[in-house]
Amino acid sequence: MQKKIIILLTLVLVFSIFSVVGAQEEVNSPDTFTYVNIGDQSTLDPHFAYDTGSSEVIYQVYETLIGYDGESVKNFTPLLSTEVPSQENGLISEDGSDYTFIIREGVEFSNGNSLTAEDVKYSFLRGMISDRSGGPIWMLYEPLFGAGFAGLSDVTVNVVGVEDPKQLTDEQAAEVLDVLEDKITVDGNQVTFHLESPYPPFLNILAQGASWGSILDKEWSIEQGAWDGTAADIAASHDPVKEEDPLFDKMMGTGPFVLTEWVNGDHVVFNRNDNYWRGPANFKTAIIRNVDEWSTRKLMLLRGDADMIYAPTQYRSQVEDEEGIVVTTGIPALQNMNMIFNWDITTEGNNYIGSGELDGNGIPSDFFADENVRKAFSYAFNYKAFIEQVRMGEAIQLRGPIVDPLLGYDENSKVYSLNLEKAEEHFRKAFDGELWETGFTMDLVYNSGNDPRKTAADMLKSYIERINPKFNINVRGVQWSTYLDASVRGILPASFGGWLADFPDPHNFVQPFLDSSGYYANRRGDTYKNWADEVGINDLIAEGISTTDSAKREEIYKKLQKMSIDNAIDLWIDQPTESNTRRTWVKGWYPNAVRPGVDFYSMDKAAE
């Protein structure tokens, strides 16, 4: 009995090996494109999504009013709008606060419904009403309503004095809806956005790559249960729970692909939209697969089962020179990494600051409020080694929050470099000389699994401990949940941060990093918030976003960059570049720093 089973299994084994044998040299499955990435997707609702995994999927199926011209992040091309609004063609009003888009005729959603201006208006209104907490819609509120407006509740407070939109009565809702509708008006096949005041990056906020700018099919969306267009439905449609959101797992767009199957964290399958207005794509099927294991992805690429994979910089050398593989490096990415100093450490329940006093066994709450300490740390980091060895040379040193090539970035601006004498000098000056005498002990924490952060921490430890034997740094890795908890409670003396641009404009960097009401100001504490206000940072930021004069803006942002370095607000580490790893038979790929992932439509598979 055992023997028979063994024989049977062996036969099946042999048979299956030879039944489907793939050739490695010829183009594998020319009608299917497979891209293997890590991670997963959170939601398919363009107004809910705020992560690259989701945005990448949305990109294939939905479209926006305008797109970027090839690799550029500054120049636009028309997409669902027939022209890109500008002062020259009059589609941007003279005072710069009205943008008009002419909606393209003859475009259909994949279900056959025609694209109209109504759809456009609906899309943005629905976004603003849905406005889930922690979501991307604040980017629509700021330009349309002005600084200080970040969500629907800000409008409801302003208009009817109600803080929670879910509590709106029908009457109040009607008022609110009127106010919203005044911001986006329709005239025939034209849609006009009425901004509160000129907002330089407005077009970037709507351009392709920004999921929240996607155009929905009003009829279809309402059928699915999304906001039905009436005031009464506002309360029910606001801030949905992710999985209860009607558009969580369904998509209907004008784009080159339609969603066929989504198994979260495993794969997403798209089929070609044969009625796509720009002509059908080159593949019948496009697949995004999620495989977290590097070695497995590598093998899939080498076998040709994957046409393109995500290859982290540190492992890429394993496949770079293989036959049939091509790699593009040095792709500018709008992201940065830094270490945030906590100027005002919460001492209660804090294990990371030792004794909590300046007695050599700990650090006081205002340890990093002393500029000399911050500067000393900044001089004690080996930027060059970090970039060369951790990033394999594929990064540039950060010169403040703003990244290359955005306005305000100056490659000649002053930055720190490893200089232990200067570091010592500043340590000696700190706390009027007291720090040097007593020494200190602190924990430097990173979230487990993040190697660059750990290396940065190890680096600081090794250099700083060399300067004075009384200086002690413990590098600690903690679980992500612990890290989250600690950073929210403000107990981490220093934490690592990194920002991936929402849209390519310096405002999207200075606001979160430097503004008192910005995201990172919270991690620095009240001391920073007050200081930033005093030295005029907030005013500069407000000015920078409200003027359309490029030269003036450049000046402002350069100043902000300088201040962030001169005052060592944070430890500015680097801006890594990206790379792309694919088979040689992939044609048509091009990089774009704003695009959230792959662009299936632009590519084709052909042998050499």
Partner: protein, 350 residues
């Protein structure tokens, strides 16, 4: 005889009745462990990546998900759902917990079923042989090989298998199905009877799917087998050795009973007791999915899900997985205990 079978049935019924209590115990244990964490720590299931911290108002999120409600309220909410068959939403899987488990279960089941054959058969057969040839060369060699198999870190072996059989030879790819077979399975003509690709392929008469599914299974099976086969072999061998020395065996031998008969009838039967004890957890382990094998081969099973849920503190997911395991374990234990009673009339149920 009748009294004994009555006792047996009684026993089985009693065990089934206890089942809900054990399940309850498990959930309370797991829930209390999770509740030892603060609300911000538990929030990490919704924000599981530093990149997502952007602009989130943590406190708003905490009240939205009720993370700082008293523990009995949170537990009550969860239990209330369970009673209706709703195990909640699994953040880490992005699906309802029930969907997450049921969609992954067939994959793990398929893997387990196919792995059990070589593991158990090979392991038991070789274990017996090894014990019989105790301290001879054969025994030594088998023991060393099996220890190496057991101590070889699974993922190293898995990656090597992947490299040789997929990377070099292209025979056994990762994942469950290739793109073409997956397209067939996805199409409306293909009917999903069981969720087991090989079986469904046969039932739908789509043999392409059958062979494709099988190709994808071999890598994980080989990797899994080496580890578990070694384990079963060792257990079988040591228990066989124990048994071979027992008095009644010596008696049988002294009586002149043929050696072969001694082994086959007496020894084997009794040696099986510890094996059966171990087989239970082993099958449970296989059914629980082997996390490492699944991640190396990109095989979407329960093991991978369990690890994911645990890492991301997805507490509905963790509770769901714990319940699933609990249920399986009790079932298997029951089968094991019943087999005990059947195999060895001396060890009777108290």
């Amino acid at each position: 005889m009748r009294k004994e079978s009555y006792e047996l049935v009684n026993y089985i019924i009693r065990r089934f009745l206890i089942l809900p209590f054990i399940l309850f115990g498990v959930t309370v244990l797991v829930f209390s462990m999770i509740m030892m964490l603060g609300p911000y720590q538990r929030l990490s299931t919704y924000i599981n990546d530093p990149a997502q911290l952007k602009g989130q108002d943590m406190d708003k999120l905490i009240s939205k998900y009720g993370l700082d409600d008293p523990w009995y309220e949170q537990y009550g909410r969860w239990i209330g759902g369970v009673v209706k068959g709703d195990f909640g939403w699994s953040e880490s899987a992005g699906q309802p917990v029930t969907t997450a488990i049921f969609s992954r279960f067939p994959a793990t089941l398929e893997l387990a079923l196919f792995a059990v054959i070589p593991v158990v058969m090979g392991g038991i057969w070789l274990g017996v042989l090894s014990a019989v040839h105790h301290n001879q060369k054969f025994d030594h060699i088998i023991r060393i090989i099996s220890t190496i198999g057991w101590s070889f870190p699974t993922f190293v072996f898995g990656l090597l298998v992947l490299m040789i059989f997929y990377g070099v030879l292209g025979w056994f790819p990762p994942g469950r199905l290739g793109a073409d077979a997956a397209a067939i399975v996805r199409s409306t003509e293909f009917i999903r009877y069981t969720g087991l690709n090989v079986l469904d392929g046969i039932l739908n008469l789509e043999f392409n799917v059958v062979f494709d599914a099988f190709r994808h299974l071999i890598g994980p099976i080989v990797t899994l087998s080496i580890v578990w086969w070694s384990y079963i072999l060792r257990i079988t061998r040591s228990s066989m050795l124990e048994t071979l020395r027992k008095d009644y065996i010596r008696t049988a031998r002294a009586k002149g009973v043929a050696e072969k008969f001694v082994i086959n009838k007496h020894a084997r039967r009794n040696a099986l007791i510890p094996v059966v004890t171990v087989a239970g957890p082993m099958v449970l382990g296989l059914l629980g999915g082997v996390v490492i094998v699944e991640s190396v081969f990109g095989y979407r099973g329960i093991g991978q899900y369990a690890a994911q849920a645990a890492q991301q503190l997805d507490y509905s997911g963790i509770l769901g997985v714990a319940m699933y395991f609990s249920f399986l374990l009790i079932l298997i234990n029951l089968i094991v205990d019943v087999s005990y009673a059947v195999i060895d009339p001396r060890i009777r149920l108290e």
